[in-house]
């Protein structure tokens, strides 16, 4: 039996008159890694933020791990506790040490005691290579370290799925590799992941499936070798030409 972790149907989102998502259907199975690519303004970040209801969908159904998030009776906080999210701007809690960043939600949301929360936190910091930064304040870390701490913070909640919203877009180029390495290891361990990214190399090597979004809909999807290697749609080809060979791209009209 295939185990569907994320089931999205008829997802629409409008901001006032502006329709950002025009009907998205998508299923992500357990252990699947799905990368979402597309030009800016294509709705891919909004799509991801709808999956844990940071954006309230205008219409459609979102079921994560059997919980219908769009049902008003669903405890959204309990649901979110099982959906890890990693942000482009890291969003580490600036007033808390790295260790406290990892323990605060474990203790206040999951009700774990301090000892348990700290041992889970340290284990996850070890996973992302930051065990020696437990006592540091976030402001003292490099961008790459902050993002890895952000991933560890999400993992400390033992999530069923992980959402990544352009996790390397705010990083200096030489720091991108550390974060992608952590994500690759996570994928190898079988985590279900939905990743909005501009890192084509990562999508090609790690993703099971790639979605190309443009204009608020999924234009093309399939195995990375097909979507990135041999795109069928004109819009996909145009986008990839710009991303993969930016110095030869003609300015868009």
């Amino acid at each position: 039996m295939s185990d569907v972790k994320i089931d999205i149907s008829g997802l629409r989102k409008s901001f006032g008159q502006l329709e950002v998502l025009g009907g998205v259907d998508q299923r992500v199975e357990a252990g699947e890694v799905v990368c979402v690519i597309g030009p800016s303004g294509s709705g891919k970040s909004t799509f991801l933020r709808c999956v844990n209801l940071l954006e309230q969908p205008t219409a459609g159904r979102i079921v994560v791990d059997g919980m219908d998030l769009t049902d008003p009776d669903t405890d959204i906080d309990a649901a979110r506790a099982r959906i890890g999210m990693v942000f482009q701007q890291f969003n580490l809690f600036a007033h808390l040490s790295v260790l406290d960043n990892l323990t605060v939600a474990q203790r206040k949301v999951l009700g774990r005691d301090r000892a348990k929360a700290e041992s889970v936190a340290r284990e996850n910091l070890r996973k992302v290579g930051l065990e020696d930064k437990a006592g540091s304040m976030p402001g003292r870390l490099s961008g790459g370290q902050q993002q890895r701490a952000g991933i560890a913070r999400a993992l400390a909640m033992d999530p069923d799925v992980m959402l990544f919203d352009e996790p390397t877009s705010a990083l200096d180029p030489e720091l991108v590799g550390d974060v992608l390495g952590v994500m690759r290891r996570l994928a190898d361990e079988g985590m279900t992941m939905l990743v909005v990214t501009h890192e084509m190399q990562f999508a090609r090597e790690v993703a099971d499936r790639v979605l190309f979004m443009d204009g608020g809909t999924i234009v093309e999807q399939g195995a990375p070798a097909d979507v990135i290697g041999a795109p069928q749609q004109e819009r996909t080809r145009g986008f990839l030409a710009r991303v993969l060979d930016p110095t030869h791209a003609a300015p868009e009209d």
Binding site: N52, L54, D77, A78, A79, R80, A81, R82, I83, G84, M85, F87, Q89, N91, L92, F93, A94, H95, S97, V104, A105, K108, V109, L110, D132, K133, G135, S136, M137, P138, G139, R140, G150, R153, A154, M157
Partner: protein, 277 residues
Amino acid sequence: MAVETRPAKSGMSKRKRAKLGRGAQYVVLVLIVIVAALLADWGQIQEAFFNVEVVRSLFPTVVTTALVNTAVYTALGFAFGLGLALVLALMRMSSVGPYRWISGAYIEFFRGLPALLVFLSVGFGIPNAFPNVDLNRKVTIMLALGIVGSAYMAETIRAGIKAVPGGQLEAARSLGMSHGRATMTIVIPQAFRIILPPLTNELILLTKDSSLAFVLGATLAQQELTQFGRSALTTYPGMTPILVVGLCYLVITIPLGILQQRLERRFGPDGGQGSKS
């Protein structure tokens, strides 16, 4: 191409003239100070402002009673005002319309009134309107000072909350915290670090506003600094009590400023207290 410069009027370069000008200002300043010092009747001035005999007889009561009372009244008023201000600020940002209206009306009303009017209203209005309510004097001062401070502090706190990046709340929500819990554990603590300087300002303002307690009348043991100074004026010749009382205010406010700087350094952008690893 040659750069055209205006010919110097005095044959001196612009920089040399500026330097000479600064030197002249120093000389004038020093002369003024010397002349003032020579002309002043120092004995008379000391007699008026710093009569050692009067200073001696003001102590220790000015500290043990008046200074302590000022500090206690201020602390009570600030604590009440800060709590009320936090509630008002959260109400002002609430999604519930009536909360926003009530809070907005309260803030507009009380920040526009002179503090003296608030003291009179609380001190004499409440006992008149509610004969059964017997407010203890300290509670009256706490209410009046708190009301005066809360209207300002509510807006300061609201500004601080708005200054915390939205991503902080989103991250907390994404971890499963409710809106209220995320606000209290993640947003408010960061907001207070941001508004530490204006909040210290407000505390210092309240320290001085506590002098308005005089309208409520006071026994000797209840006098705060300003009232103590005023009544001492009638007992002793000269203005010495005013100087002494003034210095006592500084004894409160200057350490507050130092404490603020310390806390700011500690909570600075990089958290300050981070490990050295």
